[in-house]
Symmetry: C2
Subunit: 542 residues, 2 copies
């Protein structure tokens, strides 16, 4: 084409567009504008500098402008901010932040990947020098230097999204006292309230002062004040309450902004101007399951969009499948991951759904490093279409979520999942994978084979003096049990049927829900019409 | 139903049938016949007793007959061998191996899950007491006791299937000198020859005396002799050359045996007698991709077949999707997994296919425990239908293969895989997952965007004095390089085009194939019509 392609932003989306353009066209002139000092850095690894897992912050930068020039013949202009798009004459106005000079650069095609910027709430004290956000290498260097050089002890992280959580974790690993303040009733919204409790516990167990249902009201020099009036020691504050898409350039240029407040693009990431593309955190994307625009500020999608945009410049169309939202996080000893919809988002969208919660071992129990995996599967009722899943555990929970992400992408149902033939050897898994288990349980419920109540309803049952059977063995029961629960082990119930009433609802639980399920089935065959398995069960209650 | 259901075999298939029948029918009389002393044991964990990873062999047994009785009201008759099926009167003849008494037991439905038995080759010395096979807890106890009590030093394992390999690994971990003898030119046939070299190396690096292309000719008291005449010290021999389906009962009863030599069943695991089912290692299954009967002696399929058979007894039909063959193994420091077809099996089946070999990092390079993953993807040409994959590395390679297994199950293509939105955070993965990489490379090849030669052809190229460019940096080149390869780093080639000939084929490699690919693309745009990327590249060659 021998054209001139300008790229705004030099990181996940921008650098990927530029590199792909070069492979498609050795002759194109490609210039990448980056207002910061670095291109091509690992945003996602930033928090790990705080703990020293990434000791040298310069390691966070994967490729310098020099390397871009030499390897890809791409010019990366750092410290250059694009301040205006002049669509009429197909130029951009650029400000050299070092010389303060401004100039115009013409384009044949322009690609915007300016990312998103951390939201700074408009509250008292927010502009003090001990208040930080984390978006790039400069940010993390500033924060890290500040806390180390000033002998900081107490740090408040505001916001329980994955960035806030990772920052909090790495600060704890570095030995600071950390409070995490979250306005909503839970952190990390990809998880449902029940699942996220496991992560809350992990945070608290590792020494984080976790405060939910409370917001930041005021920042003082040595403490913060929350909406509820709590005073929390904090000589340093990190704001991580979310990001807003960088749309100023696009908006000023009259490009269409979508309903979610991000740049609107078509199936090939073309904006409302056919010579301007946009990708990454700044755009809105189409949700495959919700069938509507959404935002998804993640690196994998940014890179994929970037490649598709470059392709379209060269006439290759993108098959737009929509996004599903796949997410993972490592948190102290746990891994957690989610994909698609959770019950909350599915219900908000008015999708008729149900969920199951299983917790089999992630490897054969005999093997070293075998651990329970908490797994929640969300599916449409009555179709059995898989809508999403969440998993938490010490093992490879994220890779199980990847299987569900694949299923959702391929429009899979519970039937597909039930028989899925996955790899198995005892050091690495179980003959029936957790996803098989979840699908079997879900199909049983979907087909009305038996009924269950969710663990969240147990408190009400206990308080209402419901008839609850603990189906575990006596020794397990003695080690701790639900108030009022009667111990009738699966191994004894057939001789103790006279203790189980037929004239009132019977609720049964065990450790994982599996032994109780076997008892529920038997009782149903024996003429009990009002038996319920308690899902999640003892492990979930405790 | 209140019928009587008899099950032959009490382990993976048998125990699963019985348990599922009980959940479907509290009134059925269920009797499980097992000729050995144990039901419900973890066959797959047997080898781990040799190393002490499973110290106490009784732990290998998951459930006793007593527990079966108490929990499931299932009678498990151990030491009871079923010696005959009397179809005319719907009974079986059973021999109590302790009392030596024989009796008949009637059935309404009979389920066969007798498994498979280790093949004992008909060679000299095979029946000596120091020659073992490994199929059950008794076997592994015998073997373990023998080698410990007799001060054995040298052990020969015959056969490089996964059982032989796991036995060899665990014997090495226990401190024995181990030779592994494999008749074919490679062990573990789920892997192609190129991929399995990594596993061969892992075996040798860990002290196993690995001998391929050679068979067992003779067993003496203190050594064995191979077909090629090698004498190998071995005071103990473990035979693991494969298993043959246990079809005697079925055959004697006139049940149809399939073309693969295993019991023939329909989509619901019904044999040619509608009152007799068969599942597990003893049956032949239908291959989803090959569209023909095959055998698959694995635990996951056995358990799933068992559930489906029980379901059919109660009128629930099974959606038969066919098998794909998903497999994993842990081997010293490596994990390895495969699913679907490899190039060898695809070509044998006459399927037009190609493959790609990529080796990106399994996590962000900065993070602890980041390791290269060797990943080979096999696909149909020209449809791009995914046929199979193999992966080897220190990380969660098996879970990546699970994604491919899911794709194959859902009839996915390279296009689906390229855009697959998987979970990502830097401690757990990369923004572009290895499966995305593999799909992009494969699509580039499928669409003729560039051409490559496989690493296996490199020796020929070197010997033929081909023009080979090493696109790595000088320091990497100096640390070791291919004979005759010219070092033109990706970062320099644009100034050194005069060194690259246009009149003869140019082959380019780097560490992983990625930098060389960028150079190939550029050269093509610059008018070079005869450039090839070397796939697998330096890491694969060395
Ligand atoms: C701390 C942290 C952890 C994260 N962890 C994960 C994770 O684990 N997994 C995951 O998938 N995602 C993660 N992300 C998100 C991921 O990094 C982003 O989704 C991705 O980087 C978005 O790519 P982008 O190109 O749109 O924006 P960016 O990568 O942010 O790049 C945009 C660049 O454009 C520059 N820019 C903006 N405006 C202009 C202008 N006018 N002129 C010149 N330059 C401009 C900015 O300075 C910026 O460097 C994380 C992000 C952060 C901050
Ligand atoms: C050492 C080893 C490691 C393995 N590792 C793995 C692995 O990592 N992953 C994997 O997927 N698979 C693995 N397998 C294979 C897996 O164990 C089998 O595929 C599975 O057990 C087959 O189930 P089945 O019910 O058909 O046979 P089995 O589980 O073998 O059960 C059959 C039972 O039937 C009994 N029996 C046979 N005939 C009669 C009769 N006439 N009367 C009474 N009883 C009878 C036998 O004694 C036997 O106990 C491994 C197998 C072994 C031996
Ligand atoms: C690295 C960066 C410049 C992009 O480089 P890229 O070359 O486009 O992307 P990748 O490194 O993923 O490589 C993918 C390319 O290599 C090819 N490839 C990968 N392995 C290959 C192999 N073994 N043989 C041949 N080609 C191979 C792929 O096909 C693809 O090329 P294509 O797009 O032309 O088909 C850009 O992603 C970047 O700067 N990233 C850092 C910032 C960031 O992403 N942050 C967020 C995550 S922490
Ligand atoms: C253990 C054994 C008896 C089978 O038991 P099983 O109960 O059929 O199988 P699982 O333990 O996998 O449990 C699956 C059942 O529990 C249900 N289940 C699992 N978790 C549940 C939960 N949380 N709530 C409700 N039900 C649950 C499933 O739906 C399924 O029931 P269904 O088939 O009626 O739908 C049998 O597999 C066995 O003996 N195995 C050992 C031998 C072996 O397999 N060896 C090879 C591998 S090493
Ligand atoms: Ca249980
Ligand atoms: Ca390389």
């Amino acid at each position: 084409m021998r054209g001139k392609i300008l790229v705004v932003g030099g990181v996940a989306g921008g650098a990927s567009v530029a590199a792909r353009v070069r492979r498609l066209d050795e002759y194109a002139e490609v210039i990448m504008f980056e207002k910061g000092p670095h291109v091509s850095f690992s945003n996602c690894s930033l928090p790990y500098h705080l703990s020293g897992i990434v000791e040298d912050s310069s390691k966070l930068v994967l490729m310098s402008p020099e390397v871009f020039k030499k390897r890809y013949n791409i010019e990366a202009r750092v410290h250059h901010e694009v301040v205006k798009i002049n669509r009429d004459r197909k130029t951009i106005t650029v400000k050299d932040l070092l010389s303060e000079k401004t100039y115009e650069e013409s384009y044949d095609k322009l690609v915007l990947s300016p990312g998103a910027s951390p939201i700074r709430p408009n509250i008292e004290g927010v502009n003090q020098p001990h208040v930080f956000t984390v978006r790039n290498v400069v940010d993390i260097d500033h924060l890290n230097t500040h806390i180390k050089q000033n002998g900081i002890k107490n740090i408040a992280v505001i916001g329980g999204g994955f960035i806030g959580v990772e920052v909090a974790e790495n600060l704890i690993l570095a030995g600071y006292h950390v409070s995490l303040i979250e306005f909503a009733n839970q952190m990390m919204t990809p998880f449902d309230y029940d699942m996220v409790q496991i992560l809350h516990k992990e945070m608290v167990d590792n020494g984080i002062n976790l405060i939910v249902n409370d917001g930041l009201a005021k920042i003082e020099e040595n403490y913060i004040v929350t909406n509820s009036g709590k005073k929390i020691d904090a000589e340093t504050v990190v704001l991580a309450i979310g990001v807003k898409p960088e749309i100023t350039l696009a908006k000023d240029a009259g490009l269409e902004i979508g309903e979610t407040g991000a740049i609107k693009v078509d199936a090939n990431y073309v904006t409302s101007d056919r010579d301007i593309y946009a990708v990454g955190d700044a755009i809105e994307v189409y949700h495959k399951i919700l069938h509507k625009p959404t935002r998804l500020a993640l690196a994998g999608p940014a890179q994929k969009q970037a490649r598709a945009a470059a392709d379209h410049i060269y006439g290759n169309m993108n098959r737009q499948k929509g996004v599903i939202g796949s997410f993972s996080i490592h948190l102290f000893d746990l891994n957690a991951a989610a994909t698609g919809l959770n019950v909350r988002t599915a219900e908000q969208a008015g999708i008729q759904c149900d969920s199951v919660y299983v917790m089999p071992g992630d490897k054969v129990g005999l093997m070293p490093n075998s651990n329970p995996m908490h797994f929640k599967l969300v599916y449409e009722v009555p179709t059995g279409r898989i809508l999403g899943a969440q998993a938490i555990g010490k093992g490879n929970v994220d890779k199980r979520i990847d299987v569900i992400a694949t299923m959702i992408t391929m429009n899979g149902t519970l039937e597909d999942l039930k028989d899925l033939e996955l790899t198995y050897s005892p050091m690495l898994g179980t003959a029936r994978d957790v996803v098989n288990h979840a699908a079997m349980v879900a199909l049983n419920l979907l087909h009305g084979v038996y009924r269950e109540v969710k663990v969240s309803e147990v408190r009400k049952l206990v308080e209402g003096n419901a008839f609850i059977i603990d189906a575990r063995e006596k020794s397990e029961y003695n080690a701790g049990h639900l108030k009022n629960a009667i111990n009738i082990p699966l191994s004894e119930f057939r001789e103790r049927l006279d203790e189980i009433p037929k004239d009132r609802p019977v609720y049964i639980h065990c450790r994982s829900g599996q032994r109780s399920y076997n008892m529920v089935m038997a009782l149903q065959h024996l003429g009990y019409t009002n038996v319920y398995n308690i899902s999640g069960s003892y492990l979930g209650i405790s």
